[in-house]
C-alpha cells in the first residue's frame, strides 16, 4: 500500500482533484449516517469490482454483518478512520486513475488480513476462551470459506447454461471479484 501511495504521489495534477474528492468522503463521516453508509455492504458493492465478494458474502452465515465489521480494525475509532482512508484511497485510486493496474484476482493484503483476523477473534471470543483455537496464523487457514469462499462456483455452474448468457456478458461483467 505504501508503494502504491508513492506511485500515486509521483503521478500528475489529477492527484489534487482526487485527494480533494477523497477528503470529502472522509470528512463527511462527521455525519453518522454517511459513516454508516460507507460501512455497509451496499456501499462496498457500489464498486462493480466488489460484486462477487458481495454475492458470496450475501448468502453466507455472516450476511447480516457489515463488510467493515470484518474489514476494518475496531480497536480505536482513529485507527479505523486511518485504515479506512488508506485502503479507501487505494480502492478509489484503482477505480478512477489506475484501472489497468487492478490485479486479476483480488487477494486481501497482509494489513487487511490482520485486521480481519482480529475481528473474528473479537466477535467469537466467548466461544474461543476455553480452547486455544489459535493453532494457525489466521482463522482462515481452517475456515477457508468464511464468508466468501463458496463463491467461485456458484450454484449456477451446476445447472444447464442459459442460452445467450455468454453473449450478454461478452464485455465481461461476469465474476468481477
Amino acid at each position: 500500500m505504501r508503494k502504491m501511495l508513492k506511485k500515486l504521489l509521483a503521478i500528475d495534477k489529477r492527484l489534487l482533484i482526487f485527494i480533494g474528492l477523497f477528503a470529502g468522503i472522509v470528512l463527511s463521516v462527521v455525519t453518522v449516517k454517511t459513516f454508516a453508509y460507507t460501512d455497509s455492504p451496499e456501499f462496498c458493492q457500489s464498486c462493480h469490482i466488489m460484486t462477487s465478494a458481495h454475492d458470496t458474502f450475501a448468502d453466507s452465515t455472516h450476511a447480516t454483518l457489515a463488510c467493515s465489521d470484518c474489514h476494518l480494525p475496531h480497536d480505536t475509532l482513529a485507527n479505523k478512520l486511518v485504515f479506512k482512508a488508506k485502503s479507501g484511497l487505494g480502492h478509489v485510486y484503482y477505480n478512477t486513475l489506475g484501472a489497468e493496474k487492478i490485479p486479476n484476482v483480488l487477494i486481501a493484503t497482509e494489513g487487511s488480513t490482520d485486521a480481519i483476523n482480529q475481528n473474528c477473534i473479537d466477535c467469537h471470543e466467548s466461544t474461543l476462551d476455553n480452547v486455544s483455537h489459535d493453532a494457525k496464523d489466521s482463522c482462515s487457514s481452517c475456515h477457508q470459506a468464511i464468508p466468501h469462499g463458496n463463491g467461485f462456483k456458484t450454484e449456477d455452474y451446476f445447472k444447464p447454461p442459459k442460452s445467450g448468457e455468454l453473449l450478454e456478458n461478452k464485455g465481461g461483467t461476469m465474476n468481477n471479484g
Binding site: S140, P160, P161, K162, S163, G164, L166, L167, K170
Partner: protein, 454 residues
C-alpha cells in the same frame, strides 16, 4: 441471476450466420476475446516439462528414446511439443506424420471446417485422402485453426459440442451430453479433442474408447474386447518386438476427470482460461490456452488464495518430478522388454511363448504411453499417473521374465543381450539428427520385425 436478464439473454443474437467458421468474423463483436486468442501466437516459452516452444520431443532433455519405443510408427519420425491453438493448421501441414496415405480423420481436431464437412460428406469424411480431398476442401471453405465456432454457437455464443465422436463416446458410458451443466461444458468443449482416440476399423471414424470408463485400465479393456471385436487390433506392429501396439494420445480429459481436481468439480477452463482483466477493467475468460504455471496468480490463486503461490509452485514441481522420474524408469523397462522379445524371435523360441511375452509388452507400453501422452506431466492426476506406471513396469517385467526363461533354455547369454541393448540406446542417444534416431533402434543383432508394408 435475475429472471429479467434471462429473458433478455434468450433473445440475444450476434447477427452472425449459424454456419460461420472464420475467427475473423467474430473480431468486431468480441474484440477482447479475439485479442486474447491472438496471444496464442506470441506465447513461446518453455516450462520445465511443457510450454509452447515447437521443438522435438526427442531432444535429450525430453524423451530421447521415443524413436525406439515407437519404432515402426510415424511417432518415431516426427513428434513435437504442442503449442497454441492458433498453430494447429500450420503444424498438421508440416508434420512428417502426414503422408499421402493420411486420412480426413487427422483434421478432426485442427480446423473449424470439420463439423460442416462431416455434415456434408457423412461417413465419407473420415477415410478420404487428407492431402487430395480434405485439406483443399477446408481451405476453400475459409476455415480457421481451432476457432470460435468449434466451441461456440456463432448465433448465441453458447458453448456447444461440435465433434460427434465426443457425444458418441459419452453415450457409450451412458452420459447424455445434452443435459450438461454450465460446469460440465467447461470440460466438455476441451474433451472433444484432448482425449485418447483411435480410427474405427470399419470406416476410419475418430472413436473414443470410453465404454468401460476413463481410467487407463478401463480403456485398455475396451481395446482388448470391443475394439478387437470391431476389427481394430493395433495402431502399428512394433519394429523391434513385432508386438501389435495401441498408441495412446493426449488423454488430458480422462486423466483430469479422475484426478483430485476433476473429482472436485474443477474444470479445464478454470485453470487454462482464468478470468483476466483486460482493456482497463473488463473481465473476460482468457482465450490464451497455455501452461497455467505461467499465470498462477490468475489460474490458481482464485481457489488457493490461502497458500503462498511460491509454495504451490514448488509443490507442482515436486509432483511433476516424481512423476517424470517414474515415467523414464517405466520406459526403460519397456525398451528392454522389446529387445528381449526380439531375441526370442531370432533364437527360435516357440510362437506361443513369444505371443505370451508380446501380450505383456503391449499392456506395459499402453500403461506408460497413456501417461506420457498426457500433457500435465503428472499434475492432472498424481496418484493415477503413478499407478499406471506401476502397472506398466510390472507388465514389461513379466515379458522379460518369460523371455529370460526361454532364452536361457536356448543357451542365449543374458549378459551379452543386456550389453547389446545398452549399445543400441547409446547409438540412439548419440545420433544428433532427431529424424534419424529411429534408424539405430534395429541392427544386425536386433533385426527389424515389422512385416513388409502391404
Amino acid at each position: 441471476s435475475s429472471s429479467d436478464a434471462t429473458t433478455a439473454a434468450e433473445d440475444a443474437k450476434t447477427g452472425l450466420s449459424k454456419d460461420e467458421i472464420s475467427n475473423e468474423a467474430f473480431k468486431d463483436l468480441f474484440p477482447l476475446q479475439y485479442d486474447s486468442y491472438q496471444k496464442n501466437a506470441e506465447d513461446t516459452k518453455d516450462t520445465k516439462y511443457s510450454g509452447s516452444v515447437k521443438r522435438s520431443k526427442f531432444d535429450p532433455d525430453k524423451e530421447p528414446y521415443l524413436p525406439v519405443l515407437f519404432n515402426g510408427y510415424g511417432f518415431a519420425t516426427d513428434y513435437n511439443e504442442d503449442r497454441g491453438h492458433i498453430y494447429a493448421n500450420e503444424d498438421i501441414r508440416t508434420t512428417a506424420r502426414i503422408t499421402d496415405k493420411s486420412i480426413g480423420s487427422c483434421l478432426t481436431c485442427k480446423s473449424t471446417a470439420v463439423p460442416h464437412m462431416i455434415e456434408e460428406m457423412g461417413d465419407d469424411y473420415w477415410g478420404s485422402s487428407f492431402n487430395d480431398v480434405i485439406w483443399p476442401k477446408a481451405e476453400s471453405m475459409g476455415h480457421s485453426p481451432i476457432g470460435c465456432s468449434d466451441c461456440h454457437d456463432p448465433e448465441t455464443m453458447d458453448l456447444r459440442i461440435t465433434r460427434p465422436s465426443f457425444t458418441k463416446g459419452m453415450e457409450a458410458q451412458g452420459i447424455d451430453t445434452s443435459k450438461a451443466t454450465k460446469n460440465d461444458m467447461r470440460n466438455y468443449v476441451c474433451a472433444q479433442c484432448h482425449v485418447e482416440y483411435h480410427f474405427a476399423a470399419e470406416n476410419s471414424e475418430v472413436t473414443f474408447p470410453w465404454e468401460n470408463g476413463f481410467k487407463p485400465e478401463d480403456m485398455y479393456q475396451y481395446y482388448e474386447t470391443t475394439a478387437k471385436e470391431n476389427g481394430f487390433k493395433q495402431d502399428f506392429i512394433h519394429n523391434v518386438s513385432g508386438t501389435p501396439i495401441v498408441k495412446a494420445q493426449h488423454p488430458d480429459f480422462e486423466t483430469h476427470i479422475e484426478g483430485p481436481h476433476g473429482q472436485a468439480g474443477v474444470t479445464c477452463a478454470d485453470c487454462h482460461m482464468p478470468y483476466e482483466r483486460v482493456d482497463g477493467k473488463k473481465k473476460i475468460s482468457s482465450h490464451w490456452w497455455q501452461s497455467p504455471l505461467k499465470t498462477m496468480d490468475q489460474s490458481c490463486a482464485t481457489c488457493h488464495s490461502d497458500r503462498e503461490l511460491e509454495d504451490l509452485e514448488k509443490r507442482v514441481a515436486e509432483i511433476q518430478d516424481t512423476h517424470m522420474e517414474g515415467l523414464h524408469k517405466a520406459e526403460d523397462i519397456s525398451i528392454s522388454s522389446h529387445y528381449y522379445v526380439n531375441k526370442m524371435i531370432t533364437s527360435g523360441v516357440s510362437e506361443e511363448k513369444i505371443k505370451e511375452a508380446q501380450e505383456h509388452i503391449r499392456k506395459g507400453q499402453w500403461f506408460w504411453d497413456i501417461v506420457a501422452a498426457e500433457s500435465g506431466a503428472g499434475f492432472h492426476n498424481p496418484q493415477g499417473g503413478m499407478k499406471a506406471l506401476r502397472v506398466s513396469s510390472d507388465e514389461s517385467n513379466k515379458a522379460i521374465q518369460i523371455a529370460t526363461e526361454e532364452l536361457v533354455k536356448k543357451g542365449v547369454n543374458i549378459e551379452e543381450l543386456k550389453e547389446e541393448i545398452e549399445k543400441v540406446k547409446k547409438a540412439v542417444s548419440e545420433e544428433k539428427d532427431n529424424a534419424k534416431k529411429k534408424v539405430h533402434a534395429t541392427n544386425s543383432y536386433f533385426p527389424a520385425q515389422q512385416p513388409p508394408p502391404k
